[in-house]
Subunit: 298 residues, 2 copies
């Protein structure tokens, strides 16, 4: 699972930083999380093929999280897309899109409307799950949890040879099946393979006030993106605007026992972002800036 | 008068080129013409202060000419603007803005709705005029003509000394007034000054099919921006989509006797734009590519 940052700034673009948007890649699938203005240009700049995106998740309807969506959808249409697009968002977004793109796009948009306060399973396949969970901002807002499901069992070459298992059956073994020989004897899966990597989890939480309520949803995630609009001296402004500070994001990361914290949604007042890292690290060491164009693996 | 190109591409952004947007500066005033996605980021990148813009002209309601407008307006509001904004556009744009920005912005948007086929005087001050004129695309579309009005008369220092004219009166002289001495004798303005530069005209024409109808409106403009979505081999596609080719833009420039032609709105199929210049120059020599970030004076 990989996360590529397209935009990391808050309401106003500044210092070359664009508003919020990310690409989450799970196996070969690309997911778009939020779509601030310019997201489609960033995709081009970073070599991301927008036609590979089938599912779009919009956290909330503040412009810096969705003003790029109508352009993104329009471009998909102009490029001849026919496959359905799945859009998970507040119900109000449909009218905004319909008003600006009233014609036949050549493909269907399947809406899934997120309800305030809900935690839901949005998408489930053999290899991944996406869930929403509530975060707390001045309009209904959701976080998203991407889970790359338990990888295949790792086969042990020596044992495969020892038990003379035919190659065509390796895929079944990696999926956990036993092998039955022609003489009826059973080769147990655990004799020839070992457990694969555990599930991988990426949690996206923005925009939100300091919200310990989210910890249960993101517990032990491998990577947590949490907004840090302000350094901690502006804790009062953060509270007033329902945003978070560095130390608040760090507290959430520590309480949720995540492996790594990614921070972004920086206020346009900050040119230099290094103090964000320094402040977070007084509480939580494993932190990185969500620099645009960077990709973070988990 | 100066024109700075923020975006020069057609419907799809490509090769780092953004959709249509330009800044026209007349004396100290900045005007925004079209506002494709990312226009506000380009302004930041090119050091243009968006708060100095009071008048916005939108040629037509295709997304590549207005999808950046709601972000631009939202950012003005977040930056604390209180001065009115004047918006010249198709009437349908108001509902699109109201739906996405339903709250009090802190300033008023004064709409002037452009009617299909109309040529109108939109704005007139002592120093400039802006007129609309019809161009011909698949939706109602207008071009815009900016006129920097006759500059002040140029004073002749030797003559000012010779006729002993006091300095406090120089401004009046530059505005064309005669000077009356204390003894009642009159110093004629033309004895101490000469004509300033003539009016300067910039015409913006996009998107449009080949439209000789526009020539009367842009006649002898100093600078004409005319769309060239395609090279001339795609003249059939241009006709079908109501766009223009290189040679068609060149024909208009020649017929209108403009001093210089600026071309843009390039299809995303073209990476190399040099052939656009070469083709235009078979008909009209004084042509430049509307390169993003470049400023053209007239």
């Amino acid at each position: 699972m990989k996360v590529t940052v397209l935009g990391n700034n808050s309401a106003l673009p500044a210092f070359g930083r664009y508003p919020t948007s990310q690409i989450v890649q799970v196996h070969e699938q690309l997911f778009l999380v939020d779509c601030g203005e310019g997201a489609q240009m960033r995709m081009q700049q970073f070599g991301i093929r927008s036609d590979r995106i089938n599912h779009v998740f919009i956290s909330h309807l503040h412009g810096d999280h969705y003003f790029g969506l109508v352009g993104f959808i329009s471009s998909l249409s102009l490029k001849g897309r026919t496959r359905d697009l799945f859009l998970y968002c507040d119900a109000s977004l449909k009218a905004i899109i319909d008003l600006q793109l009233p014609w036949d796009l050549g493909f269907k948009i399947n809406y899934h409307f997120l309800k305030e306060g809900d935690a839901e399973l949005l998408l489930k396949t053999d290899t991944l799950e996406v869930k929403s969970f509530p975060v707390y901002h001045s309009v209904p807002t959701h976080g998203f949890l991407f889970t790359e499901k338990k990888r295949k069992r790792r086969l042990l070459p020596d044992k495969l040879r020892q038990y003379e298992i035919p190659k065509y059956y390796y895929k079944k073994l990696s999926e956990g099946f036993d092998y039955t020989k022609q003489d009826g004897s059973v080769i147990k899966n655990e004799w020839v393979s070992e457990a694969g990597s555990p599930d991988k989890k990426y949690a996206f939480a923005a925009d939100t006030r300091f919200a310990p309520e989210m910890v249960e949803h993101i517990f032990q995630a491998d990577l947590l993106y949490h907004e840090t609009t302000y350094l901690h001296d502006l804790i009062d402004k953060a509270a007033q605007r329902m945003h978070s500070t560095t130390l608040q994001a760090a507290e959430i990361a520590r309480a949720a026992q995540v492996k790594k914290l990614l921070i972004g949604h920086f206020s346009s007042k900050y040119k230099n972002l290094e103090p964000f890292i320094a402040e977070v690290q007084t509480i939580f060491m494993s932190v990185e800036l969500a620099t645009e164009g960077s990709t973070f693996e988990c």
